[in-house]
């Protein structure tokens, strides 16, 4: 299997990673639904993965393709635990609006 030897693709992918990360940040700031917050966090993690793979393509290193494996595994663990917490939040408060989960405030 031949890898595509177009160096431009890795630079363009760095830009794509930054755009996706900023969209994820905007989503986390703007949304109140806890599950959509989580989806925007997964979007940010994917932006990081694109960054790592772009550099792996540019520098022709295999180590840059191993790190995304760990990122995906940690995202899986974080999604499982986070969604369990959201389920418990829904059982306690009746809503998953994060603005209404402010009992530790003040």
């Amino acid at each position: 299997m031949e890898t595509l030897q177009l160096m431009d693709l890795s630079r363009l992918s760095l830009g794509l990673s930054a755009v996706l990360f900023s969209v994820g940040v905007a989503g986390v700031v703007f949304r109140r639904n806890a599950i959509i917050l989580f989806m925007c966090i997964e979007l940010m993690l994917n932006a990081v993965n694109i960054n790592l793979v772009a550099f792996a393509h540019r520098l022709s290193s295999l180590e840059g393709q191993v790190f995304p494996i760990f990122v995906i595994a940690i995202a899986a663990g974080e999604a499982a635990v986070g969604l369990a917490i959201i389920i418990q939040l829904y059982r306690v408060k009746g809503t998953i609006n994060v603005d209404q989960a402010d009992e530790l405030k003040g």
Binding site: L16, A76, A84
Partner: protein, 180 residues
């Protein structure tokens, strides 16, 4: 005409198609009111990113993205959305006021970082050369080429990740029980 077809960068055109799908899916994820629509746009983003991984030569990561990330993690999201029976009232939950300013300032700063990244010159030294990755992939296959650094240089992180996943399983089961 044949000159135009031979010189046209079809790979870049394909990259632009998938990148626009990815960004469009991301914006759809952020702006939908219904959580299920948001999730489906995220699935579109993930599939486009898998295609871009393949174009960047990360065949294993592209396959793992579809199988694990889209096929397991997002399906888990879908199950939780269906379990909590959300989305019956499609009220908008976007914040307003000072949050809008903060969000746009944050996104704008990151956009400025993008612009800076594109301005830097294109002089980066090659580490191992393209032959190393190609030779490993040709000899061992896409999975075998990843296995060599994963089980030699990154063995300790690999084992720690397995312990972390075990802890996450126990934590998720404990946290979601009705009565502990």
């Amino acid at each position: 005409m044949t000159d135009f077809i031979q010189n046209f960068p079809f790979a870049q055109l394909l990259w632009w198609v998938f990148a626009s799908l990815a960004v469009g899916g991301a914006i759809g994820t952020v702006t939908r009111k219904n959580p299920i629509s948001s999730l489906l746009f995220l699935v579109l983003t993930f599939f486009s990113l898998a295609a871009i991984y393949l174009m960047l030569g990360a065949h294993f990561i592209g396959a793992v993205q579809i199988i694990v990330y889209t096929g397991a993690i997002l399906v888990l999201f879908l199950f939780v959305i269906m379990l909590l029976n959300l989305g019956s009232e499609y009220q908008s939950d976007l914040r307003g006021g000072l949050w809008i300013t903060t969000g746009f300032v944050a996104a704008g700063l990151i956009g400025f970082a993008i612009w800076e990244a594109f301005r830097t010159p294109n002089a980066v030294a090659q580490l191992g050369g393209a032959d190393r990755v190609d030779a490993a992939v040709t000899e061992f296959g896409a999975v075998g080429a990843i296995a060599d650094p994963l089980f030699r240089d990154f063995l300790v992180p690999f084992e720690l990740t397995s312990i972390l996943l075990l802890v996450a399983i126990i934590g998720a089961v404990l946290l979601a029980k009705r009565r502990v």
